[in-house]
Amino acid sequence: MDHKQLLYLEEKCIQGYSPACTTTCPVHVDVKNFMAKVKAGDFDGALKILRKVLPFPGIIGRICDHPCQDVCKRREVGDAVSIAALEKACVQMSSTAPDKIFIQPKKDKRVAVVGGGLSGLTAAFDLSSKGYNVVLFESKDRLGGSIWDTPEEILPRKVIAEETAVLVDLGVEIRFNSTVGEVVSLPDLGRDFDAVYLGLGKISEHTFGLQLDQEGRLQIDPLTFSTGREGVFAGGGLRTSPGYSPVGSLSDGRRAARSIDRYLQNASLFAARENEGSYRTRLFTSTEGVELLPAVVPDNPIQGYTREEAILEAGRCLQCQCLECVKACKYLAHYKGYPRKYLRDINHNLKMVKGNHTANKMINSCSLCGLCQEVCPNDLNMGEVCKNSREIMVIKGKMPPSPHDFPLRDMQFSNGDGFALARHEPGKNGSSHLFFPGCQLSASAPEYVDKVYAYLREKMTGGVGLMLRCCGAPADWAGRKDLFREGRQEIVRLWSEMGKPVVILACSSCYQVFQNYLPEVEIVLLWEIIDRLGLPVVSAKDSPGKVAVLDACTTRHVKSVHESVRRILERLGYEVEELKYSREKTECCGYGGLMSFANPELAHQVIDRRIKESEADYVAYCAMCRDKFASRGKRTFHLLDLIYGADNMDLADREDPGYSQRHENRARLKGKLLREIWGEKVEEAQGFAAIRLDLADELKAIMENRLILVEDLQKVIDYAEKSGNKLYNQATGRYLAYYRPVSVTYWVEYSPRGENFKIHNAYSHRMQIVGEVKI
């Protein structure tokens, strides 16, 4: 990923952005954290959060005009959170005196602040904290300006005095009864001070010869708060009069102070000022499934919330987040972060030269299914990122071999003599159509390949050829562009030789490969053909059953397939239940992206969670989904079970055949079809493949977990018996031998039993012994 690409992707992930309350607040109070503190009963902590952005929390906490409440997400499921009332409760409950006051080193510039209202007070607070010498001119004999319009019960006068006392500690010189325009003129201020802030509060008769707008108000730049005259800034009630917003004035004073600070340092007044003042949030928050709750009503409305009432009300805060993808995808939730963080980890992993590539497993654990993109408000696709990353890792020679070695060898088997086949229909020397069942359906339920091929030959007149191969999806998922390209080129070559027929696919992953990478090939899914041409077997269903559909993740966008499958089920007499995550929002079963090889525990968790979505039997039209769900104990049909299986409900309990049986099923399928359809003789198993083994069921399960095939054991025994290189255990009478066909060394513990060999144990490792070290 280059830097620009990374930034572009990171921008899409909005998790962690400030919610509407904070962005709408002109000074950006961290309302979410404030609520968390109040909910926990930590009112001092809550006050600290207010104090981070509010210079006079005791005042503003009591009189804030709360624009935040109008945009609070809670409004969609009840009343908005009573943010203002909770701030009031907080400042009433805690001592609002700040612990420490920080003043930066003294500067030799002088600033005049005109007006002791909220905007002037804030400007004075900020500028004096930055070390400037501030003189505040107030026309009355008291500070506060318009806040004195608030009744005493709401804003006690001693609070005003206590809060504003901090200005004295900051070294601000306050001159009461000093109306600018009468006691002192603006030009005077211009001579004695380096900058002036006008926070007059209302439209005053004194306009100081400054530029006015149509309504007779001072013209103030909305970004910099300058008036047009050198060094003179303005804001607050002056800008909004006759309207008055206490928090708005506070914000104006702060922003004008920032402008003055830059002005006095000859820095740009315009640069990097996005998100000052109120702005629209980028955060998306779903309120789906949230219980509607009304606001807590205080017992004593004048007093406000008690401690307990406040804690309850703060508990209604939604703690707005996005996390839509994390909610939907177990993989994204597993690493306890969210996409923007993952993008950084992945980028770091890819760029690293020396060191531990700790994100390798995470990159290889994604199923590449694209559900994240479907639920993300900004369409971020982490699957695309992971696949591209794998391709980069392969090119750089940094891809760990172990997660993908086995499925790639499985693919190699499917494209070898054991399974690969490309034939025209017997009696025809051309094919209008070509049946491509895929390697996994052939491995899992080879009898259906036979039956479906017969059905297609019957229904179609132009000749239906057969191609047995792997489409190459495992190579694509492993980031092996080289292997993937080789496989595709061979498919196109064979397809061209056969006259470029329309390819009928029975697997959604094959469909995705053909659709995206072989656009020259016209394709159609088997389910659409069956939907159009009619069911192969008319079976009377005595009672309608109910099934929930497991849509394949690789055809999530192909609506016609979702529809065809459902129509077929209805015609078979089934009531179709829609799972929560179905059609374009379907989840992967864990085989996609080779997740089940890179991270078997995670794949199990994915399936186990999906199993809980419904009590009904599931039906999948992907052979891998069917087998994987069945292997975790869920009754799952393949669509062909229901099409051909009449009322055989036991088919849903069929076990996953296992890796070795999958190879054998494919090989036998090829042999059977060659014999029965093309009348060709098939060779008997030779060499190591003729070795007969005796395997207990427990051992089969161990081999399955360790990705050890029967043929691997055969190769070891073949080598051991021919070479004599085997270890003999005198106590047990058993032999132990090892052999490394390609990249894995297999160990087999066995005893000859007549013509056969009884297998006691099998294990493997990838490391090779390269030499001896003398101790």
Partner: protein, 39 residues
């Protein structure tokens, strides 16, 4: 991945066959293999 690692194994003095016990293969070696892959 081209990294070396030293462990103690039994070796037949006559025929030179080495014994990697199951426990070592499925535990220690697997651990090391996985961590070396990520370097």
């Amino acid at each position: 991945m081209g990294n070396d690692f030293t462990i103690e194994l039994l070796k037949c003095p006559e025929c030179g066959l080495v014994l990697v016990p199951e426990d070592m293969a499925v535990r220690k070696m697997l651990e090391v293999e996985k961590s070396l892959e990520d370097k």
